[in-house]
């Protein structure tokens, strides 16, 4: 037996511990899709990791339950998978975990309100995004919402649709920049970084929404501070980086 790198099978433990990153995870999932034994093994190991979770139990603050009540009230549930492949058991939860409540929690609600305002006032000058496009993404059947903190302050919310290869980006509370600088959005692919445009000036602490199109699978989203005219590629460190 020649072993060059860990056989995918030996990664079952690391996979069950969520200790595989990007490429390794994808490689294992490809392998597991054809390996019934691996899938079963991971299932068994997940029972052990679940016990680790139970052992780490700690009471959440009571307010959390209250917040969830409101959240579930406005979150549409997924229909069951009627004819899912068995691999789905392994790969879907991952997607599932990354897909977030589509509509309208917290910042996204704000984004939606902003869309409303944008729709009635017309798109801000120089914005390539139209409210129609934004609405299309927000209501796409595969829309996924993510929120993340921006390292220099503020919270970003994106809603993306891989089907439409577009995402809507909005942020709240971004640190104000001197006039010589702007926030610039990037789609970071395996081959090169593509600018997804400059963010508009904030209004009442809200930035955007803007739309970025041409999303490719494996892209990450990045945000940097750049000279006001924008740059062809990032020149400063990412202050936000999200795996899409």
């Amino acid at each position: 037996m020649r072993i060059r790198r860990p056989e995918p099978h030996t990664l079952a433990g690391a996979y069950a511990l969520d200790a595989l990153d990007g490429r390794d995870r994808a490689r294992f999932e490809r392998h597991a899709a054809r390996c019934q034994e691996c899938t079963q093994e991971v299932t068994g190991l997940r029972e052990a990791t679940a016990r680790l979770a139970v052992a780490a139990a700690a009471q959440p603050p009571p307010a959390l339950k209250e917040a969830l009540r409101a959240e579930t009230a406005r979150t549409r549930q997924l229909p069951p998978v009627t004819r899912g492949s068995h691999v789905a058991g392994r790969t879907r939860p991952r997607l599932g975990a990354r897909r977030l409540a589509l509509a309208l929690s917290g910042a996204a609600a704000v984004a939606a309100v902003t869309v409303w305002v944008t729709a009635s006032l017309g798109p801000p000058a120089g914005q390539p995004s139209s409210s129609q496009e934004i609405t299309a993404v927000l209501t796409a059947p595969d829309a996924v919402k993510m929120t993340a903190r921006v390292r220099t302050g503020g919270t970003a919310t994106i809603v993306m649709s891989h089907r439409d290869r577009m995402l809507v980006f909005a942020a709240a509370g971004l640190r104000p920049l001197p006039t010589a600088q702007r926030y610039q959005l990037w789609l970071i692919g395996s081959r090169r970084d593509r600018s997804a445009g400059l963010l508009p000036m904030p209004s009442h602490g809200m930035t955007g929404p803007v739309i970025a199109s041409g999303l490719q699978s494996g892209d990450r989203l990045g945000l940097t501070v750049e000279p006001a005219a924008g740059t062809p590629r990032p020149t400063t460190p990412m202050i936000l980086e999200l795996t899409l």
Partner: protein, 205 residues
């Protein structure tokens, strides 16, 4: 070690508790509750929350550390449980395993996409503590005692690899570099360690 790999290894039983006493009632209940959640039963959702909020919150907190972020991620996890309840498949594991998987994945994905190396270094120290202080907070947790005992039964390397990955949120490559051990060794120790842990926990039920 008796748990070695290789093509001839007997595959684990489909039901990890096969041969053990029947599932505890709370397991069955949780599955039934999730089925109710799948049809939009909010009361059932709250019952699920009451059962699993502490493990979810504790696990997420161990990985992300930041209190605000912990609450945010915990909330996302439960919104996901609500949304995806119809996707829970009892044939593919216990409800607790399903919820824990969503929680842990979500937590590690979040720190990996957000945190820079400085933060992670800080967590290197704390993840070890996490295993010790894993929850002085919850009263009467027999599970914790059993998990501790079974963790102690692992080799040092197995235990460190498993706890750094699970409670610290590290990738196996990161664990390898923290422990100064080849990555391939870490991945096999994680697997061996989890298999042992699984068997030890199943035996103790």
């Amino acid at each position: 070690m008796g748990v070695e790999t290789g093509p001839g290894r007997v595959s684990p039983p489909r039901n990890p508790w096969a041969g053990a006493p029947p599932p505890r009632p709370d397991r069955a209940d949780l599955a039934a509750l999730l089925a109710r959640v799948a049809v939009g039963d909010r009361a059932a959702f709250e019952a699920v929350y009451d059962r699993v909020a502490a493990p979810v919150f504790g696990t997420v907190r161990g990985v992300v550390r930041d209190p605000g972020l912990t609450e945010e991620v915990t909330q996302e996890v439960f919104v996901e449980v609500w949304r995806a309840a119809s996707r829970f498949d009892a044939g593919k594991g216990s409800p607790m395993a399903w919820v824990a998987m969503i929680a842990h994945r979500r937590a590690v994905d979040r720190v990996r996409s957000e945190q820079r190396s400085a933060d992670r270094d800080r967590r290197a120290a704390s993840s070890v503590i996490a295993y010790d202080d894993v929850a002085e907070t919850v009263e009467d947790n027999l599970d914790r005692e059993r998990v501790r005992r079974c963790l102690r039964a692992l080799t040092d390397l197995q235990r460190e690899a498993v706890t750094l990955a699970y409670y610290g949120g590290y990738t196996y490559r990161e664990v390898a570099s923290l422990l100064k051990v080849p990555a391939g060794t870490v991945s096999t120790r994680m697997r061996d360690g989890l298999i042992r842990l699984r068997d030890c926990l199943a035996a103790g039920r």
